[in-house]
C-alpha cells in the first residue's frame, strides 16, 4: 500500500497536477461563492476542457472544483443569507446571524478551518475504506452489481426532494434514455426513430450541461434579485473561545459527513442537515441555534466537505456515482477510457492514489484561498449576473461543440429547457441523471444475470450480497410509506 501512497504523492506533486488542483480549487471556490450556480453546473461547464488532459489531471481538477465549491458556498450563506450551493443551506441559519452580530469573520474562518479538518480526515478515511471496499467488491458478479445499483437508485429516489412518484418516474426515464442507440449485445439499435445522430446514444456531456448549466441560467434569468451583502469583514481569525466551541462539532461533522457521503444520494446536503440536527440536539443551549451559534456553522460546513470527498469511495471502487456531480466525474473517467469499479485501483492506481493525495493538497490550497483572501471573495459577490450569465452560456455552447457536432448543441439546449421545466413542475434532475449514467451498466448486469440463470429472477435472491441489497431496497420502500418518514423526506434532497 505504501508504494501506492508514494505513487499518489508523485502524481499529485507533478507541477501540472498542482496547477490543475489549484485551478480546480480556485474555480470551485469562485462558483461556490456565486449564488445560483452550483458545483454540478460548474463541473459540467469545464468537462470538455478535460478531454485533452491526462486522466488523473482531469479528475484532480474536477475533484478540486467540487470540494472547492463546498468551501466557497459558506461565504454566500454567511454574508448574503443565500446559500452559494445546496449544501450550504444550513450555514445560513446561524452564519448569517453571526454576520449580523458583527462576527462574520469568525463564522467564515470557522467554516474554512472546519472544512480543512474535515477534508483532511476524509482523505485519511479514503485511504482506509476505499481499498477495503474495492477488495470486497471483487467478489461481485452481475447479480450483485445489478442489486447494488438498484439500491443506489432507490436511495437517490428516497432522498430526493418532493414526490417519490416523480422521483421514480425520473429514474425510469433516465434508464430509458440511457438505452437509446446501439445495443452492444445484439448489435441492433433502439429508440432512435431512424435518426442517425442517435445511433451512438444521447451524449452525456451535452445532457448534463443542459440540465445543470442552461436550466440554471434560465431559472435565474426569469427574475431579478438584489443582494444585500455584508462587505465589512473585520477580524478574520477566530477567537480561542470560538475554536473551543467548534472543535467537537467539527469532528462530529467530519464523521457524519464521511459516513453519509459513502451512501448514494446521502451526499453533501443530507450530511449538513444531519450534522445541524445532531449539534442542536446534543447542545446544552439548543435555543442559541438559529441565533448565531458557531456550532451550527462548524458542524455542517465540516460535514459537507467530508461528504464531498467520501463520495469518491463508491465512485472509484464500485463505479456508483452518489450524486449528479459525481456522475459527471464518472462521465469524465469514461471519456478517458477508465471504467470506475473494483479493478480501478489495480489497473490505474495512479488515478486513484493521485486523486486522493491531491485532495489533501487541495485542502491546504483552499485554506489559504479562504482565509487570507476572504475579502477578495466578498468582492466576487458584486459581479453583476447580467455579465456572468452570457459567459456561462457561451462556455456551455462552445463546450458542447467539442466533438464538432452541431447536434450536441441542440441536445444541450433541449435538455436545458427540459431541466428548466422539470424544476417548474417540481421534478428533480438527480434521479434521472444518475439513472442515465448507470443505465448501460445496469442493463448489462441485468441481462447477464438473466442469461446466467436461464431467465430466473431467483438469482438475485440466492446470492447473499444481492439479497442484502434487495432487502435494503424493500426496507426503504416500506419506510417511504410510513407517515413519520414521509414528513422527514422533503427536508432532505440530493444536491444538484
Amino acid at each position: 500500500m505504501w508504494d501506492h501512497v508514494l505513487l499518489g504523492f508523485t502524481v499529485a506533486f507533478k507541477p501540472i497536477n498542482l496547477l490543475y488542483c489549484f485551478f480546480g480549487c480556485f474555480y470551485g471556490t469562485f462558483v461556490g461563492v456565486l449564488p445560483g450556480f452550483g458545483p454540478t453546473a460548474a463541473i459540467a461547464l469545464l468537462l470538455p476542457l478535460t478531454f485533452g488532459m491526462a486522466p488523473e489531471s482531469a479528475i484532480i481538477m474536477l475533484a478540486g472544483i467540487y470540494y472547492g465549491a463546498m468551501y466557497g458556498g459558506s461565504t454566500t450563506s454567511i454574508l448574503v443569507n443565500i446559500p452559494g450551493e445546496a449544501a450550504s443551506v444550513t450555514t445560513t441559519f446561524d452564519g448569517y446571524q453571526m454576520a449580523k452580530q458583527g462576527r462574520a469573520g469568525s463564522a467564515l474562518s470557522i467554516a474554512a478551518i472546519g472544512s480543512f479538518i474535515a477534508g483532511s480526515l476524509a482523505v485519511f478515511g479514503l485511504f482506509i475504506v476505499a481499498p477495503l471496499l474495492a477488495n470486497f467488491a471483487l467478489q461481485f458478479g452481475p447479480p450483485e452489481f445489478f442489486s447494488l445499483m438498484v439500491l443506489g437508485l432507490t436511495i437517490v429516489v428516497y432522498i430526493s426532494f418532493g414526490s417519490v412518484l416523480k422521483a421514480v418516474a425520473m429514474g425510469s426515464l433516465g434508464i430509458a434514455l440511457g438505452c437509446v442507440g446501439w445495443d452492444y449485445v445484439s448489435g441492433n439499435t433502439r429508440i432512435t426513430f431512424g435518426i442517425e445522430y442517435l445511433y451512438d446514444g444521447i451524449p452525456v456531456v451535452p445532457i448534463l450541461m443542459g440540465l445543470f448549466g442552461i436550466s440554471e441560467v434560465l431559472l435565474n434569468l426569469e427574475k431579478t434579485q438584489k443582494l444585500e451583502i455584508f462587505k465589512e469583514v473585520k477580524r478574520i481569525w477566530p477567537s480561542l473561545r470560538d475554536l473551543r466551541e467548534s472543535i467537537l462539532p467539527i469532528l462530529r461533522g467530519s464523521g457524519i459527513g464521511f459516513l453519509l457521503g459513502l451512501v448514494p444520494g446521502g451526499g453533501t446536503v443530507v450530511s449538513t442537515f444531519a450534522s445541524y440536527t445532531i449539534e442542536k440536539k446534543i447542545s446544552r443551549h439548543p435555543e442559541r441555534f438559529g441565533k448565531g451559534a458557531i456550532e451550527g456553522v462548524a458542524g455542517p460546513e465540516s460535514a459537507n466537505n467530508a461528504a464531498a470527498q467520501a463520495g469518491f469511495v463508491p465512485l472509484l471502487t464500485l463505479g456508483i456515482p452518489v450524486s449528479p456531480a459525481f456522475a459527471l466525474v464518472f462521465a469524465a473517467l469514461l471519456v478517458h477510457g477508465i471504467h470506475p469499479g473494483p479493478l480501478l485501483l489495480a489497473k490505474t492506481p495512479s488515478v486513484f492514489w493521485g486523486v486522493v493525495i491531491s485532495m489533501y493538497v487541495g485542502n491546504m490550497i483552499l485554506l489559504i484561498l479562504n482565509l487570507p483572501l476572504i475579502r477578495m471573495w466578498v468582492k466576487v459577490l458584486a459581479i453583476p449576473y447580467g455579465l456572468l450569465f452570457p459567459l456561462i452560456l457561451i462556455f456551455c455552447l462552445v463546450g458542447a461543440l467539442s466533438d464538432n457536432k452541431v447536434g450536441d448543441v441542440f441536445v444541450m439546449i433541449i435538455f436545458g429547457i427540459f431541466g428548466y421545466l422539470m424544476k417548474k413542475f417540481d421534478y428533480e434532475p438527480a434521479p434521472m441523471v444518475i439513472a442515465f449514467i448507470l443505465s448501460p451498466i445496469l442493463e448489462l448486469n441485468l441481462r447477464q444475470s438473466l442469461i446466467l440463470s436461464g431467465g430466473s429472477f431467483s438469482i438475485f435472491f440466492t446470492k447473499p450480497i444481492s439479497l442484502g441489497c434487495l432487502i435494503a431496497v424493500g426496507l426503504l420502500v416500506l419506510l417511504s410509506t410510513l407517515p413519520k418518514f414521509k414528513v422527514m423526506r422533503p427536508k432532505l434532497g440530493v444536491e444538484a
Partner: protein, 154 residues
C-alpha cells in the same frame, strides 16, 4: 377545466412512456432467458408509464383548498430576458456554419450583453470582443477544437 401542473406533467410523461414502449417492442423484447434489445427500455418505460399514471390519478383525486402556485407568475417573470436568451441559444448553432465561430460568438455575446440589461454600447462591444478572443485562445488555440470558419473565412 384548468389542469393542475402535476396533471400536465403526468400526461406528458405518459406520452413519452408510450413512445418508448412502442419503440422497445419494435426493437425486440426477447425472453427472460435471452433478453433482447428492447427488454430494459421496455421495463423502464413501463415503470415510467405506471408511475405517471399513478401521479395523474392521485393529482386528479386530490382536493386542494389552497390555490396552486402559478408556474410562471406574471409579476415575477422577466419574459423579455428569457425569450431573448432562448432565441440567442437556438440561433447560435444555426448561424455557426454561416458566420463561423468567431463572428457567432461575438454576435451572441454582444446580443446578450446589450439586450438583457441597459448597458452602453462601448461596454457591450468590449465585453463581447474580450470574450470572443478568450474563447478563441482557450478553445481553438489551446484545446485545438475544430471550428467553422463561415462564409467570411474568419
Amino acid at each position: 377545466m384548468k389542469l393542475r401542473k402535476d396533471q400536465i406533467s403526468s400526461v406528458f410523461l405518459l406520452v413519452v412512456a408510450g413512445v418508448i414502449l412502442i419503440s422497445s417492442v419494435k426493437a425486440s423484447l426477447g425472453s427472460f432467458g435471452t433478453p433482447g434489445s428492447g427488454f430494459v427500455p421496455f421495463l423502464a418505460a413501463f415503470l415510467l408509464g405506471f408511475f405517471s399514471l399513478l401521479g395523474l390519478v392521485l393529482s386528479s383525486l386530490k382536493k386542494t383548498k389552497e390555490k396552486e402556485k402559478t408556474l410562471f407568475p406574471s409579476h415575477e417573470m422577466n419574459w423579455k430576458n428569457l425569450i431573448m436568451t432562448l432565441g440567442a441559444l437556438f440561433a447560435f448553432p444555426l448561424l455557426l456554419k454561416l458566420l463561423g465561430f468567431n463572428l457567432t460568438v461575438f454576435g451572441f455575446m454582444l446580443f446578450l450583453a446589450k439586450v438583457t440589461e441597459p448597458r452602453r454600447w462601448v461596454i457591450a462591444v468590449l465585453f463581447a470582443l474580450g470574450t470572443t478572443i478568450a474563447c478563441y485562445l482557450l478553445f481553438v488555440y489551446w484545446l485545438k477544437f475544430v471550428v467553422e470558419k463561415g462564409v467570411f473565412g474568419i
